[in-house]
Amino acid sequence: MTRQKRSHHRLKRAVAPYLYLSPSLLIIGLLMLLPMVTVIAYSFQNSAVLRRDPSFAGLKHYQAIFADPVFWASLWHTLYFTCMSVVFHMTIGMVFALMLNSDRINPTLRNILRVLYILPWLFTAVIIAVIWRLLLEPNGVVNSVLMQMGIIGSKVEWFSSPETALHAVTFANIWAGYPLFMVSLLAGLQGIPKDFYEAADIDGAKAYQKLIFITIPQLMPIIISISLLDFIWTMQVFPLIWITTGGGPIYSTEVLSTYTYKLAFSSYNLSQASASAVVILLISLGLTLFYIRYQKAR
């Protein structure tokens, strides 16, 4: 190669990665980063989106949200819904993974059960919502079985009474979400070296001791990173709640996403909705930073 040709080649090599990345960066920049800036701008404007020349509103919309008791109720419901979901996703996922990993069951049965245990994962939030509405109908199968067993005396309106609605949607979400933990922990279990357990056997360790001193510490990195991701994603859940309860009755299942959606598309108060959306963004961003730091530290 001549020198000219070689330097031409090197230049191409230097420019090439940017060319390969350009379509992605263009899309992410224009359709993700720019809209994020836009929604922050909206939150400081009066009549955002609706008027062509909106006036500056300062922090007015943020003050309006922080003064709204429904916002604080939504924040609390979001926290309850999210914490309960993550804790139970983790617990159920862990129990199922340990059971499936046991050498006491026959391998064919294990493979069949693994497929069946993943089932809830294969269904869209909307379909999960519809299934649970059918199951928990006042005249539905859950009430009829519970009444026959004498656990409840009369038909419970799971999704439409303020006392039970939040627990009912949380339960549906717990059912829908544990497979992510189960699958990840199962993969993690298979990666723990067998000699750890053999060494413990020689020392005469009991099954629960092996669980506490070997299995759980070995799975900790997976548990922490999946919990963080699950927390971030569960916090943003919209369709499940929208279809089962719509945030009602009397705001008893209102979460941040349904609260924001209603502000924007039922009340058409897009400025205030933007302020609320920015608050959600900030919470997510904080958790994401935490997640990325954790991933890098590993």
């Binding site: 992605s24 245990y117 869209t124 379909i127 279809i243 959306a277």
Partner: protein, 280 residues
């Protein structure tokens, strides 16, 4: 090493199988109930005591869904949008992943972090500016609006998945092309793409599922019945005939078919796609 067949040991094995059966009931009963209800008449669904197997097996709910052009349109829309987005996302992600995997360049680390963090941006935050944009560009209630939206949501993770896959392929393969005087572009299409099929399939599966399941943006950025997708269609069915539960279940079964089929046929790719981001 373990002592087998002692009475205590046998008891533990029995208890484990009882627990497995309970777990199976918890995981699968709701889905079984959807399936069996879709084959019942609407009156049988609420029969007392409940019938576990459909007593009068009927396909009337499926006939009602499949005979209604409005509902078939929901399915067409879902397949069409998810299909187009899958092709576009995989193509664009493949290029970006190639750049990430085969080149060193200024800003690589921060771009990678940027892409990881965009995965957790709350959809509801982007919904309002998207609505503003879509209305002002006159693409409200069109396929274009949905395709652009889904593209931006599927792209970051698709890039990470593809990059992860390309990193597993030895570099000598495409460097051989460079030695022969070929460009990186030639290496990508002649060498990398043909051996990247598993990665491409996993990325496609993931992208398709995300689009198929999307609800919030489809709800907000479309309006006319002819533009609605399956998840919105199910919700509409619930509003219109609050009591046609068998049709709702039939539509849910039909709406779940693509995911179930993909899972059964390509379990490996499905799991790779669903967990790659969380387990590294």
């Amino acid at each position: 090493m373990r002592k087998r067949h002692t009475p205590k040991d046998r008891l533990i094995t029995v208890a484990l199988h009882v627990a497995l059966a309970a777990g199976l009931f918890f995981a699968a009963f709701p889905i079984y109930w959807m399936l069996s209800s879709s084959f019942k008449s609407n009156t049988e669904i609420f029969a007392l005591p409940p019938t576990i197997l459909p007593k009068a097996f009927t396909l009337e709910a499926y006939a009602a869904i499949l005979g209604d052009p409005v509902k078939l349109r929901f399915f067409f829309n879902s397949y069409f949008v998810a299909g187009v987005v899958t092709v576009l996302t995989v193509l664009i992600a493949l290029l970006a992943a190639y750049g990430f995997s085969r080149f060193n360049f200024r800003g690589k680390g921060s771009l990678n972090t940027l892409i990881i963090s965009t995965q957790t941006i709350p959809p509801i935050t982007l919904l309002i500016p998207f609505f503003g944009l879509v209305v002002s560009y006159g693409i409200f209630d069109t396929y274009v609006a949905l395709i652009l939206t889904y593209l931006v949501f599927t792209l970051p993770y698709a890039i990470l998945l593809m990059t992860g896959y390309l990193n597993t392929l030895p570099r000598d393969l495409d460097e051989a092309v460079a030695v022969d005087g070929g460009t990186s572009w030639t290496a990508l299409w002649r060498v990398i793409v043909p051996i990247s099929l598993p990665g491409i399939v996993a990325t496609s599966v993931y992208t398709f599922l995300l689009c198929w399941n999307e609800f919030l943006f489809a709800l907000t950025l479309t309006k006319s019945t002819s533009m609605r997708t399956v998840p919105i269609g199910i919700q509409l069915l619930m509003g219109q005939h609050a009591f046609e539960w068998n049709q709702m279940m039939a539509m849910s079964v039909l709406g779940s078919l693509p995911l179930l089929l993909i899972y059964l046929v390509a379990q490996r790719f499905f799991l790779a796609g669903m967990t790659a981001g969380s387990v590294k």
